[in-house]
Symmetry: C2
Subunit: 116 residues, 2 copies
């Protein structure tokens, strides 16, 4: 038997994941409070986020782990993570290095509902 002192150990069991084992994670710019994106984490990507201190999702489209900015360099440096009252959503505060959106915008939410 081993006793783990991994500080990320606590994070997992208390959360409610959906049928696909995922939990939505809102990413907010820690300095400006701007919402940058919404992604999905599973248990392991949450652990990877805590360990690497870089926001890491499960990509639903590519079905793979995705450390945001790993290729582009536009990483999201972790500040802290909050959970909601129902423990089925996360709020991740981060320092963005470069634009978060693949379109080059700072935030993925750059359009109003009615915009083309």
């Amino acid at each position: 038997m081993t006793t783990s002192s991994d500080p990320t150990e606590f994070a997992v069991p208390e959360l409610k994941y959906d049928d696909h084992g995922l939990i939505p994670a809102i990413v907010q710019d820690d300095a400006t409070s701007e919402i940058l994106m919404l992604g999905y984490m599973n248990e392991r990507s949450l652990r990877m986020t805590l360990e690497k201190r870089l926001v890491t999702f499960w990509s639903r489209s590519r079905q793979e782990y995705w450390t945001k900015g790993e290729t582009s360099g536009n990483v999201l440096e972790l500040v802290d993570i909050r959970k909601d009252c129902d423990v089925d959503a996360l709020l991740v505060r981060a320092v963005p290095h470069g634009p978060t959106c693949h379109t080059g915008h700072r935030s993925c939410f750059y359009r109003e509902l009615g915009d083309d």
Copy 2:
């Protein structure tokens, strides 16, 4: 044939809903930029939100339409709605009337990940 001038008409077809016909909607305090909650909308609750100017979700647990604060009075008055680059998430800016969380907290995200 009728010609509709309903300003909410545009909102629906362009969005990507999930297998349950839902899209996640992040609610942000328009004045402070604080994240208040994450809820889910379907096509009709999005329309209701735009028509009533009060944020209205589809409650997954109760399987019913849910205009936030309808009972408590703690409504979320709509300011505007943004969509993300993938059109599968919404960012709703609102004026909260009273606390948003059922626990009495301003925001549902009042705990750090490791808190009990």
